[in-house]
């Protein structure tokens, strides 16, 4: 395993090396995020929410740095970036032990991630959980 230092140095820090590829959710560049813009009410809270593109760029960095699992996590993050907050909480809650009633409930959730949010990697994670939870009896009622 040898990390390609040159490739990595050309990518990271992304804010310095790949600033041209970065946009906020409202399409602004990093340079546009100034105090003056904030004072003039030219910024929105969503300007400080990461984009799926930035997350995929960081996944690429992680993979070049030989951290494949971190890369996968960041790719799942990219998928979840556009998933509404409440859905995130519901999904997390349902993945906790004893919340989903059966395997079908989790499989349906996975399907929703695939269809509604175009989130295949996250769907795979949920499907995997669905299998293991059944084998380990994790659909049992906890409260």
């Amino acid at each position: 395993m040898t990390v390609d230092r040159k490739a990595l140095d050309a990518l990271y820090p992304v804010a310095e090396k790949q600033a041209a590829r970065l946009r906020t959710r409202t399409g602004k560049t990093l340079d546009a995020l100034t105090l003056k813009a904030a004072r003039d009410r030219g910024l929105e809270a969503s300007d400080f929410a990461i984009t799926p593109e930035a997350l995929r760029l960081q996944a690429e960095v992680a993979e070049v740095a030989e951290r494949p699992q971190l890369g996968e996590n960041l790719r799942r993050g990219a998928e979840l970036a556009n998933v509404p907050q409440e859905t995130i909480f519901e999904t997390y809650e349902l993945l906790r032990p004893g919340r989903a009633r059966d395997k079908a409930e989790l499989l349906a959730l996975a399907e929703r991630y695939r269809r509604e949010f175009d989130a295949p990697e996250s769907a795979v994670l949920i499907e995997e959980a669905a299998e293991v939870y059944e084998r380990r009896n994790l659909y049992r009622k906890r409260f």
Binding site: V14, A15, L35, A49, E79, L95, A129, V132
Partner: protein
């Protein structure tokens, strides 16, 4: 047992008296026990360990005569138990009744009992109960079997029998490409690679990706504490070590949080973490810490440990920048009890990434033990499972090293070695490691200091996670290993060994200015948001407060109102930035904005990211490249100066300034005038006092704080009281006490002389002695007072008459006099030696006291 006579025989044997009427003393009175009184042996089995328990037991015996006899299987055991109880009972009785010196107990144990260490309790090694640091007989042997890139067996368990942790590790952690190679490698060989400077970090990190939990546990336990420390230095992900602080208080007071966050951030912590006494106060806590941290300096990452969904909301609002409390456990039972699974945690970690929030998991020795699901496995093996899950989740880092389970882990043999081993394992798995040291594992300050040493020597991504920057009682996580009280001790350890501890001393006036500004900034934001206003007394009480006991501030109800108002308004960090900018805190607003811009690039989501001087520093662009001396992290000259700058650094100028002040005083008190070269005296009762070169000239006060005029007065007065006469000479050729004394003695008609240095060190010498022999030596000047000097004079006069007086005894209580006085002593002595003139003869001196005699 049917009869308890054996116990009584044992008891009588040791009590040294017949106990037909078993006389046993209980607190405050004497009780009576009859021969047929059954004894609760369950209690007696503890008696051997603690006297206080005995007292309780004795009280219990006399009040509960019907207690059942238990737990004693043989007469011998019963006798022994009685005998032990007897020893303790007698000691207790003796101590209680009279201090007659005939105790059966060695008093050293009394001294030991007084030490804070005795509050710590320890556990025997007991693998069946989970009290086993490593290598439990129940740990599996390392194994792996891979078919078609799929793990079909791991650590002796077939895939069909995997619990959820095995299943997750097999699916997400084990790198099938290197597994066979890595597992075939001899554990001893791999352990040597970990400490071999010629084997690059990348090589061992690659192999570790193919290792199972049992293999990792086996490998790490091949390393001694020393080797683990070395391996940590080599394996740490980020080259530059850092540190994290806790900022909390017992009142959840946002004003104090802002001031303390500014303090912590200025001291150098790269991350600060808060939590609440009352969960609902999270928004107020988070806002206050965010503002305060940005006042201290730019780039400090901040988190608010809270319920998962709440923490994510705070992060979304920009009020926090990282999360740390995503807990992972090493047994299925404890994972489920913790209300999670590896998949729910993997989803949560991805969710944090999706919101641009840096995250790390938390695991650590002893949590499975505390939760009652240890499966009789060793602590290290269970933690290996935790770390493998984390690697599989794809989280960038971990907070491990005991954490809340550190004290229970510290109670078993090798417990702290285990904690170190699990931190190294995290680094080996290429995770950012915030290495615990965040729980007070002991009441003993020595154990605390020892605990931190390997971490400071090696350097970790975050040495503490976190260090208490506030007093122990204000720490809502519970006391940390090091706290505000011990902050300067920590800084000193950093300075002593020139290790990177991640903190610096900031002068008090600078800190006060920062605290004031943080309070003003918070006030401005509160005002702009219309959630609260601060009273002047409130602000001033917080400004100077060591902790919340000193503050006159919001009530819990008021804090809750502020927190719910912030939440109701859905305040975001942008509102805070705008408010700060509007009210003239543009620099603070800019610091927060710079932190927020990380959200756009996500650079801080890479492994071990911190922000320094507006730039991200992570394992990607600051990779640890340690490969032996001169490589890896080096302390720069600027940083070295920062580490060196602490309080109580005495300079020569300071010593001279003290001397100048004393000189003015002393000129009014006495005069020393040279009257020519000193001659040998002939008077038989004469004692010659030889003064050092700077005595009364450049220097005027002993290290014991006595003015030299008073010292001289006492010596001369003592000699006269002893029936002798005194003569004063100034010695120019030496400043050494022995030679001062011998030179004086050689000039003395009686052959007895006193030599004394300006710092107060003195000797009574005799003219025919070898130089380094003496009659009496007073080498502990800091605790030598005027009465001692007077007695010294009396004794010298007695020696001059040929008598044999009782030497002067200076009561020494074991003070570390060197640490207190040697800086001063060295500087003073250098002033003396600078005046030496080897060729100059001693001079006769005339002393005139101007204000007395």
């Amino acid at each position: 047992m049917e009869d308890d006579s054996a116990i009584w025989h044992g008891l009588e044997h040791r009590m040294g008296e017949k106990l037909t009427q078993g006389r046993i003393v209980e607190p405050g009175k004497q009780g009576e026990l009859t021969d047929n009184c059954p004894i609760g042996l369950g209690c007696f089995s503890h008696v051997v360990f603690e006297r206080s328990v005995l007292v309780a037991v004795l009280a219990r015996i006399s009040s509960s005569p019907s207690e059942e006899v238990e737990n004693t299987k043989t007469r011998t055991a019963a006798w022994r138990m009685g005998a032990r109880a007897g020893i303790l009972a007698r000691n207790w009785e003796d101590t209680a009744m009279a201090d007659d010196g005939a105790l059966n107990r060695w008093r050293r144990y009394d001294a030991w009992d007084e030490r804070p260490l005795r509050l710590d309790k320890f556990a025997p090694e007991s693998p069946a109960d989970g009290f086993c640091a490593a290598q439990s007989p129940n740990d599996p042997a390392p194994s792996i079997c891979i078919e078609n890139d799929t793990v079909v067996e791991m650590d002796g368990v077939a895939a069909g029998d995997f619990d959820m942790i095995d299943a997750f590790i097999a699916a997400h952690t084990i790198d099938a490409e290197v597994a066979d190679e890595a597992m075939a490698l001899d554990s001893g060989e791999f352990a040597r690679m970990l400490v071999d400077i010629h084997v690059p970090r990348a090589d061992v990190v690659r192999l570790a990706r193919g290792m199972t939990p049992a293999k990792l546990a086996e490998v790490l336990w091949r390393l001694s504490t020393l080797e683990l420390t070395f391996a940590q230095a080599k394996l740490r992900a980020r080259k530059t070590p850092a540190n994290q602080a806790h900022v909390t208080n017992a009142k959840d007071d946002p004003v104090q949080l802002a001031a303390d966050a500014a303090t912590a951030s200025a001291i150098g912590f790269d991350e600060i973490e808060t939590t609440m006494r009352v969960a609902e106060n999270s928004w107020s806590n988070a806002l206050a810490c965010t503002i305060g941290a940005a006042v201290g300096r730019g780039g400090t990452l901040f988190q608010c440990s809270s319920e998962e969904a709440e923490e994510l909301r705070l992060g979304m609002a920009g009020l926090t920048s990282y999360a740390e409390t995503v807990s992972v456990y090493g047994s299925e039972g404890s994972f489920i009890d913790g209300d999670d699974t590896p998949w729910s945690k993997a989803f949560l970690i991805a969710s944090y990434a999706s919101r641009g929030i840096k995250a790390r998991c938390t695991s650590g020795a002893g949590s499975e033990l505390l939760m009652g699901f240890h499966e009789a496995k060793s602590i290290l093996y269970l933690e290996a499972r935790c770390l493998c899950v984390q690697r599989g989740i794809g989280v960038q880092g971990t907070q491990n090293g005991g954490i809340d389970g550190a004290p229970v882990t510290a109670s078993v043999p090798g417990g702290l070695r285990e904690i170190l081993a699990e931190n190294v394992m995290a680094a080996l798995l290429d995770l950012e490691c915030a290495s615990g040291n965040d729980t007070r594992i002991s009441e003993s300050e020595i154990r605390v200091g020892a605990k931190i040493m390997p971490y400071m020597m090696a350097g970790t991504d975050f040495i503490c996670s976190g260090q208490g920057s506030i007093p122990k009682y204000d720490n809502s996580f519970g006391a940390s290993l090091f706290n505000a009280e011990e902050m300067e001790d920590y800084m000193l350890i950093q300075r002593d060994f020139e290790m990177e501890g991640g903190v610096r001393h900031v002068p008090e006036d600078e800190l006060m200015a920062l605290r004031a500004r943080a309070i003003d900034a918070l006030e401005a934001v509160f005002d702009e948001l219309g959630v609260a206003s601060l009273r002047p007394e409130q602000k001033s009480s917080v400004l100077t407060a060591h902790g919340s006991k000193d503050t006159d501030t919001f009530s819990f109800a008021e804090v809750r109102r502020i927190a719910s108002a912030l939440q109701a308004q859905e305040v975001t960090i942008l509102d805070v930035v705008i408010a700060l900018e509007k009210r003239g805190f543009s620099d603070v607003a800019q610091n927060i904005l710079d932190l927020m811009k990380q959200r756009v690039s996500g650079d801080h989501l890479q492994t071990a990211a911190i922000l320094r001087n507006g730039r991200v520093l992570s394992a990607v662009n600051d990779p640890n490249d340690y490969a032996g001396p001169g490589t890896g992290h080096q302390i720069s000259p600027e940083r070295r100066a920062e580490i060196a700058a602490i309080r109580d650094v005495l300079s020569k100028d300071e010593i001279l300034a003290w001397a100048a002040r004393d000189a003015a005083d002393e000129r009014r008190r006495y005069r020393l005038e040279p009257t020519g070269t000193a001659q040998a005296g002939e008077a038989p009762g004469e004692v010659v006092i030889g003064l050092s070169p700077a005595f009364g000239g450049e220097l005027h006060r002993t290290t014991g704080e006595a003015l030299l005029s008073d010292v001289l007065d006492a010596l001369i007065g003592g000699i006269e009281e002893g029936g002798g006469t005194s003569r004063l000479v100034r010695i120019h050729h030496t400043a050494d006490t022995s030679f001062l004394g011998l030179s004086a003695a050689r000039l003395s008609g009686s052959g007895i002389g006193i030599g004394i240095q300006a710092k107060g060190t003195a000797v009574i010498h005799k003219s025919d002695f070898y130089p380094h022999m003496n009659l009496e030596l007073f080498c502990q000047a800091p605790i030598t007072d005027l009465s001692h000097y007077r007695q010294m004079g009396r004794n010298a006069a007695a020696y001059a008459r040929g008598e044999d007086p009782e030497p002067v005894s200076i009561p020494y209580q074991g003070e570390a006099l060197g640490s207190r006085y040697h800086v001063q002593t060295s500087l003073i002595y250098a002033i003396e030696t600078a005046l030496l003139d080897p060729a100059r003869e001693p001079e006769e001196l005339r002393v005139t006291f101007l204000d007395r005699r």
